[in-house]
C-alpha cells in the first residue's frame, strides 16, 4: 500500500514559552521544535502498514523552512519521499485552510491511505485530518487506537470513546485515519537511516503548484484569527510554597494536616 502521512512540526511544550512582542503568538526564536506527538505515532503506523504490504510512505508537512528537519527525520525513520508545503501564504492557517492545502497536495499523489495525528500540540484544532478527508471524499476516523488492513479494501479501526471504551468500526479504503498518541511505539531513526535520508527526495510546493490561490490558504483562507495569547493567571487560588525541598515538604505536610485537614 502507498500510505501518506501528514505531520506538523510544533514547539516543544516542555520548553519555557514566552509571548511574542505583538502578544499574538509565542516567541519562536530559539524555541526547540519537534514532530507533533500524535503525528509521530501516525508515521510509525504508516511505516508498519507499508512494510507489511511491500508499499511505501510519503510524508507531507506544511510550514516554514524549519519543517524540513521534521521531514528529514521522517525519511530517516523510513519514509520514501517527502513533500514540503512551503510558502509564506500557507502560514497561520486554521484546520480548514491547512486541510484544504494538504488535500490539494494529496490529490497529486496515488495513495491508498492517509494517516495523520489526531490533534496538534500547539493550536490543537483536531480537525485537519477530517477536513482532508472531506475534500478527498473519503471516510475518516478520529482518535484511532488500532488499524487493521483487511482483504477486500477495508480497514478495521479502533477509535477511542469517552469513559474508557473503544468502538470498533470498519471503513472502506481509501480513508483518512487520525491516530491517537500511544497506538504504537515509534521507532528511532538508525544511523543507516539517517545517511540514506540525505539522498531521498524532498520536494517543495507552493499554492500555485496545488492549483490554489494564496487567499484560500494560510491566515487569509482561515475563518479563525488569534487576536491575543497570554498565560492564564498563574497560581490563582494556589498557595505557592517556597524553599529547600525539606522545608517545603514539612510546610506542606503541616498545611495538609492543620489547614486543609486531609492528612
Amino acid at each position: 500500500m502507498r500510505v501518506a502521512v501528514c505531520l506538523k512540526q510544533v514547539p516543544d511544550t516542555e520548553a519555557r514559552l514566552r509571548v511574542d512582542k505583538e502578544g499574538r503568538w509565542i516567541e519562536e526564536e530559539d524555541l526547540p521544535f519537534k514532530i507533533n506527538e500524535s503525528d509521530e505515532y501516525a508515521l510509525e503506523e504508516a511505516l508498519r502498514i507499508a512494510e507489511a504490504s511491500d508499499g511505501e510512505v510519503v510524508v507531507l508537512s506544511l510550514g516554514p523552512a524549519r519543517v524540513q528537519e521534521a521531514l528529514r527525520k521522517s525519511l530517516a525513520m523510513g519514509a520514501a519521499r517527502a513533500i514540503h508545503l512551503d510558502d509564506p501564504a500557507f502560514a497561520g492557517g486554521d484546520a480548514l485552510a491547512t486541510g484544504r492545502a494538504l488535500a490539494a497536495a494529496l490529490t497529486r499523489e496515488e495513495v491508498d491511505l492517509v494517516i495523520t495525528g489526531s490533534q496538534s500540540d500547539d493550536v490543537g484544532y483536531g480537525g485537519t485530518g477530517s477536513v482532508v478527508a472531506g475534500h478527498l471524499g473519503w471516510p475518516h476516523v478520529w482518535l484511532v487506537m488500532g488499524v487493521e488492513i483487511e482483504e477486500g479494501g477495508t480497514a478495521k479501526v479502533t477509535r477511542e470513546m469517552e469513559s474508557g471504551k473503544n468502538e470498533i468500526v470498519r471503513v472502506n479504503l481509501p480513508a483518512v485515519i487520525e491516530v491517537q498518541a500511544g497506538i504504537n511505539h515509534p521507532r528511532y531513526a538508525s544511523l543507516k537511516g539517517i545517511m540514506k535520508a540525505k539522498r531521498k527526495p524532498l520536494d517543495t510546493v507552493g499554492p500555485a503548484d496545488l492549483g490554489l490561490d494564496s487567499g484560500q490558504v494560510g491566515a487569509e483562507g482561515s475563518r479563525l484569527e488569534i487576536v491575543s495569547v497570554s498565560f492564564p493567571e498563574s497560581g490563582e487560588g494556589a498557595q505557592l510554597l517556597e524553599g529547600a525541598p525539606d522545608e517545603v515538604a514539612r510546610l506542606l505536610v503541616e498545611k495538609l494536616t492543620k489547614e486543609a485537614r486531609v492528612l
Partner: protein, 330 residues
Amino acid sequence: MASARKIWIVLQQREGKISRMSWEALAAGQKLAAATGGSAEAVLLGSGVDESAREVAGYDLAAVRVADHENLAEYTPGGYVGALAPAIRSESPDLVLFPHTYQTVDYFARLAQETEAGLLPEVTGFDADGEELLWTRPILGGKLVSKVRIRGDEPVLVSVQSGSFSADELSTGQADVSALELDAERVVPDREILGVEEVGGEQVDLTKADVIVAVGRGIGGPEKMGPVEELARVLGADIAASRPVIDNEWLPRDRQIGSSGQTVAPKLYIAAAISGAIQHVVGMKGSRVVVAINKDPNAPIFNLADYGIVGDVHEVLPALTAAVREVKGT
C-alpha cells in the same frame, strides 16, 4: 455589541440520555443568546428521541429541532453530517454549538468542510462586550490561553469544553418541538459499527480512593517510580497517572486519570510532574485538595491547585515522604 442572530446547540444523547456536557453547551447557548440578543434552538439527532426532546423543551429555547431517523440510531459521521449539513445550508444559523466530546470532534470538522462553515473547537468562554464576539480557548496543552475572532459572516461550528459553563445555570421555559427537515438519501452511515470494547477492564477502581498520588511524563521513566511508590505507601494512597505515562507503558492503563481514563474526586490529589492539560484536569478537578509539584512555574496545574511547589519532583517527593513519616511517627 456583538450579535449572533441564530444559535443552534446540537446535543449529544445515547440511549435517550442527554450527556452532561450537552447541558453545559445548552447553557452556553442560552448565555450567548442573552448576551448577543439572539435566539437559541436545541437540535437533537437520533432515532425515537421524542422523550429526550420533551425533556429539552422544558428549557428556555426558541425551539427544539429533532432529526429523527433510523440511520441516526447509532452515531456515524456519515449519518450525522448527512443530517446536519443540508439543514445548516438551508437555515443558516450563525453559530452552531456542540459539546466538545470525542464524538463531536470525530464529525464536526467534516461538517464544517462540507458546509463551508468555520470551525472553532474547544472554547472555554466568550466575551460579547466589545464590537465583536471574542472566544477563549486553550493552546499549547493549556499552558496559554488564546483569544480568537471569527472572520467572515457564514456559519461557525463551535465546540464547548467541559466545565466551562454550568448546567446549573440553565433557565427553564417552554419550547416547541419541531422536525428538522432531512434529506433521507444523505443520512447514510459511512462506517460499519462492529462493537464496543472496554479498555484494560478497569481492574483498578480509583474512584473510591481517598488519596491519590498521580504522576506525569516529567517523572522521567518507569525506573524513577520508586519515590512515588514510597510516598503512596506512607500516605496509604493509590498511584495514578496522566496519559503520556500510560502511553509510554510506565504504568498500566487502568491507572489513567482524565478524559479517556477514570474521573476521580479524592480528598487529596497530589499531582507530581503533571502539567495540567485539560484532558487530565477534567478527570480530577473534583478533588477536594490538590497539591501540584512541577518544575515549570507556568504549568497550568498551578491554576487549580490549592498548594503548589515549584521544584524537581525527584527531590520533593522523597522529602515529602520523610515529612509524612515524621508526622505519622513511622
